[in-house]
Symmetry: C2
Subunit: 273 residues, 2 copies
């Protein structure tokens, strides 16, 4: 039973406040109640949040934890000074030393993009999402030359969410192609991939876990049977090894961890930008 | 020309370090070179990063900015004390006051999920991605009762990336359905949506911007013509108004901003968890 509340308060989407707060909270064995308050960008909204924070402090007998990313000084200081809470303020803490280092004053901009309609980076990201969707699950072999990476692996090894994540978060054009029993019988990778082997990256997975995932979709099928999963995985790994395709296991990795590893291994240039 | 380097150094994926660093850097009118160094989890890797950092300081004549999220005390302190850089250390700064507040010691866990294979939250997120993909662009009317939200709007108003983002980042089952000229002629929303009007949320967009986006896909087409875009948008807005469907304009908003607004408006419970 949560008996303490954590607030994430921001004048933008609150995504930074949440990422920041959750990574700090992950260091503690507590399960507090989470309350997100995005778009708090004027004194009136700040007052409402302060009332909520102080209400929680009273109700729970413990002052809340408040992770705050607010650019406007007045709004931020209001919440900082009127809340009965531990306020952890990312901007105030780090912007000041950076101003001193850079000998620049900060511009108090809210959000990552000043105007998405004019941002090339944003445009490329939407293009990457469209590309990855059109090239999900081997749907299309057109324009594979444009792909930044082609994920390969057996059905349900994690290719689709990883492709979409790479596109959405990193603007990477990520196609994905299943390795299926027909490929194993023919004993060669799909012919449309042959010219692009150097762009391929494999995902594999433990047979137990794969069988469990496939059983949720098609309970009791041959497709989901442990023996069949073992067979497909062995064949896929043998094929990737022979073709010189690097791979990793998705079994215990989050989409974020898989995506970061792929970037580091096959697009190290994307780590410098 | 960038003449200063920013490093994002982490023992995990570095996503928190980047989110943190980029939101701070957005406050300054500078274009530094970005270098990401994920998975720095032992002393040897720390030494390599320190060499890189100090090399950049020497080459550029300015010490780099280093955003660091490293849980391991030894690795973190090594980088902090041996780098010729401004080191901005999120964990050291905030974990200590939180330990005092909670009267708990931190557990030094790397990453958000201890093991994704066992996490219900992670499982639900993958399910949401699969649902949103299967229900992209009105592909399927099956199981719409399961949807958390159904996005509606004219073609290219931003429904697909927003749906995928809601699924991936928030575990929301987000279907999306286009409003097309046939709907406007018939003057009613697609019949499969009628039972779910309360779950619908509309996206609209400025006609100029829509015409520009559509022209990239089908240059010179009627589909992309400004007059046609104006017509479709007017009809769609009229229809949403009549049906009592809230909407917002995606013209100047990022996917993150659209998604956050939708959550706040139609799933306020998702702001408390």
């Amino acid at each position: 039973m949560p008996n303490r509340t954590v607030f994430f308060v921001s004048d933008g989407t609150g995504i930074t406040a949440e990422t920041f707060g959750n990574s700090i909270l992950a260091q503690f064995a507590i399960k507090p109640r989470h309350v997100r308050r995005p778009f708090i960008d004027n004194a009136e909204k700040a007052d409402q949040v302060i009332t909520e924070i102080n209400g929680a402090a009273l109700a729970e007998g413990k002052r809340p934890i408040v992770f705050i990313t607010i650019v406007n000084d007045t709004v931020r200081e209001k919440i900082g000074s009127h809340s009965n809470a531990l306020v952890l303020d990312m901007f105030r803490t780090f912007v000041e030393p950076l101003e001193a280092e850079l000998q620049l004053t900060s511009n108090h901009r809210v959000g990552r993009f000043s105007d998405v309609a004019k941002s090339q980076e944003y445009h490329d990201r939407i293009e990457a999402i469209n590309f990855s969707l059109a090239h999900d699950d081997g749907q299309s072999s057109r324009n594979l030359a444009e792909a930044d990476v082609i994920l390969v692996g057996v059905s349900r090894s994690g290719k689709t969410p990883t492709s979409l994540y790479l596109a959405m978060q990193h603007g990477i054009k990520a196609a994905n192609y299943p390795l299926i029993p027909e490929d194993f019988e023919r004993d060669s990778i799909p012919s449309s991939l042959a010219p692009y082997k150097r762009k391929c990256f494999g995902l594999t997975i433990d047979a137990d876990r794969l069988s469990q995932i496939r059983n949720e979709r098609r309970p009791g099928s041959k497709y989901a049977a442990l023996a069949n999963c073992r067979y497909e995985i062995n064949e896929a790994e043998r094929m990737m090894k022979r073709e010189g395709i690097s791979w990793l296991s998705s079994t215990h990795k989050s989409i974020e961890e898989i995506a970061t590893t792929i970037l580091r291994d096959i697009r190290p240039d994307r780590l410098i930008y």
